[in-house]
């Protein structure tokens, strides 16, 4: 007996979108259509609702995949790719237009935290209500009540109405109820986007535990590190189609390639910084050998990376660093020599030159940061800017996919009796 938990065949979901007629879906129009239907059929015209003002929109088309027991499947894709629609179909919230899904096992979905929570009811009452909505019996909820409350850390506030909770407490309680469902298949949609760092850590930890218990998990997120950490396989959706599936590394790599639009020069916003201190990296730019900003560098050209850094207070012994990433892996890190920042409001410029033939044609992402021995990490911006190195057909080798060759290019010298040149 196969242990396939979920099998999806030829799944498609179509919506009819169109211009709204004045007011809601007109009852008048529907009645009109109902009455004129026999006459329309006589004249062989198509249904008015299908034709006028409307067009079909396929949110999902020809989706095929299978999931075995115990897998943790990540679903990634741009906004509007169809991820939530897929989850809704798997959760039986909406029906597919074509295709079929076979599921073995109880499904519980967390598409939103706190569904069904009523602000006027107390925390205790909402735990029961939410649990019942998610499919638990009263017995089950009573049994797990203490665990749920302990996970959410809201013991003291159980008997106050939920409308008085802070958003953090609200989200913790909501997630706690859902986390204690014991389904065979758990479906989670971007709920980690809500909540602070501690909460996200807790959520990931819980999902990890669920996965280790051998349950199947479907996880939609834009947070690549958590996808990489949890998922045994990843599916990439684009415009409603399944573009790629496979290991986390390869699929995320493809996704990042598709979306490398973060080109060449970025002014970093406050939210991009993961560490905060008086020192801040303000801009990151990638320049080609002519000194102009470019997100494409040809193999063989020098690469220049320019940073502007500002420190509001004097900082001694600062080393600015750049991490170079490709294929989801940190290939190399380069550090500037230690400098002392005087603490003036004026930003200082750093330019780093990377020898061109060191990196093979590929898609790259730069992470930038600064640290000092005294204070540790001063600033850190992951995924600050992207660029790519394009192959150049000088020696006829551009018909190979250079990505197969590795990540870096080594300066190696050859000696052979057929060659005229000698190494010594």
């Amino acid at each position: 007996m196969s242990d396939t938990m979920i099998s999806v065949e030829g799944l498609g979901k179509r919506y009819i979108i169109g211009r709204e007629r004045n007011g809601s879906d007109g009852l008048r129009h529907a009645l009109n259509d109902l009455v004129t239907a026999p006459f329309r059929r006589l004249r062989n015209r198509q249904s008015a609702i299908g034709n006028r003002h409307s067009e079909p929109f396929w949110a999902l088309k020809e989706i095929n995949f299978t999931v075995a027991t115990g897998e943790v499947v990540g679903i990634i894709g741009r906004n509007g790719a169809g991820k939530s629609t897929l989850l809704k179909i798997l959760s039986r919230i909406t029906e597919p237009t074509e295709g079929r899904v076979r599921i073995r096992g109880r499904v519980a979905s967390l598409l939103e935290v706190g569904t069904g929570f009523h602000p006027e009811l107390t925390g205790r009452e909402n735990v029961f209500l939410n649990g019942a909505i998610l499919g638990m019996t009263r017995e089950e909820i009573k049994r797990k009540f203490d665990e749920i409350v302990a996970f959410a850390e809201v013991e003291k506030f159980l008997d106050t109405p939920v409308k008085r909770y802070s958003s953090g407490m609200y989200v913790r309680l909501a997630f706690a109820v859902a986390a204690h469902l014991e389904p065979e298949i758990l479906i989670v949609d971007e709920v980690l986007a809500v909540g602070d760092g501690a909460f996200q850590k807790k959520c990931l930890g819980k999902m990890d535990k669920v996965a280790q218990q051998g349950r199947t998990v479907f996880f939609v997120s834009h947070n690549m590190p958590s996808i990489k950490r949890l998922c045994t396989s990843v599916i990439l959706l684009s415009n409603g189609r399944l573009v790629r599936s496979g290991s986390a590394e390869s699929v995320i790599g493809e996704y990042l390639r598709e979306n490398a639009g973060n080109g060449a020069a970025v002014e970093l916003a406050d939210s991009d910084h993961a560490v905060h201190s008086p020192l801040k990296i303000k801009t990151v730019e990638v320049l080609n050998s002519k000194g102009t900003r470019s997100d494409v560098i040809f193999f063989g050209e020098d690469i220049f990376i320019r940073l502007t850094v500002q420190a509001e207070a004097p900082m001694p012994n600062v080393r600015v660093g750049i991490g170079i990433h490709a294929n989801g892996v940190r290939i190399a890190t380069v550090h500037a020599p230690a400098v002392d920042f005087p603490g003036s409001p004026q930003p200082h410029t750093f330019v780093c030159k990377v020898a061109a033939d060191a990196l093979l044609p590929n898609f790259y992402s730069l992470h930038v940061g600064a640290h000092s021995i005294e204070r540790g990490g001063l600033d850190w911006v992951p995924d600050a800017v992207d660029f790519r190195i394009e192959p150049v057909g000088t020696d006829g080798s551009d018909d190979h996919d250079h990505r197969d060759w590795g990540l870096i290019s080594l300066n190696a010298l050859w000696e052979a009796d057929l060659l005229a040149v000698s190494v010594h």
Binding site: K88, E95, R104, L121, L129, A132
Partner: protein, 272 residues
Amino acid sequence: MEEIIIEPGRGFKHYWRDLWAYRELFYFLAWRDIAVRYKQTAIGVAWSLVRPFLTMVVFTLVFGKLAKLPSGNTPYPILVFAAMLPWQFFSNALTASSESLVGSANMISKVYFPRLAIPTSAVIVSFVDFLLSFVMLLALMAWYQFIPSWRMIALPLLTLLAFCAAMGAGLWFASLNVKYRDFRFIVPFVVQFGIYVSPVGFASSIVPPKWRLLYSLNPMVGVIDGFRWAIIGGEAELYVPGFLLSIGLVVLMLASGIWYFRKTERTFADVI
């Protein structure tokens, strides 16, 4: 482990089993609506007794003392209250359930559970109010030292009939309202119109005999007549053909309501 197949048009074969699995949800949703009603009020749940009590007092004053309408041996307030009881149940249930799906739009688009639980729990909430009003009716009868007849035994069955009528109409309007929001305005009109057309303020015996059967096309006529017959006793007669017609219509309304609800349920999440 059971295998579930999700396909267009299949409509979830396991629906009725799911309803049983989710049976506690019916209770929780009804409990939620009732609990929320009285949150942050001073006298709390006592309000659910106060309302029918005040209605009863008003009836006694207006119909009994002020209007001094003739009512035979039965005190007028009891005559009217006996009809108000099922009518209030029906109109509250109809109003609550027609709005229930749209009001739970958020849950419908984010969680799976048998959607039938939503309008049903709205009717259950109205049923709880019905029970409390019934208690008030008993108090009224005690006040007037009115002894009810043995026909009161039929009340549970008649209550079931009223429940089915409320559910049938409720399901129709609830599902229609999801797609055609016009029904938000149609329902209050139906209720307002209905209270004059149904034998609440008057007895259906004043309808001329040749129109009686046609009049019974309003399903609530049979239900209200039945209630009057059971509660008042001796004087109230039951027009049997009309009553049977009403029962038939109620059953038809309920069956078709469930059918239409199940048919459109699969598009709720997309349309709501």
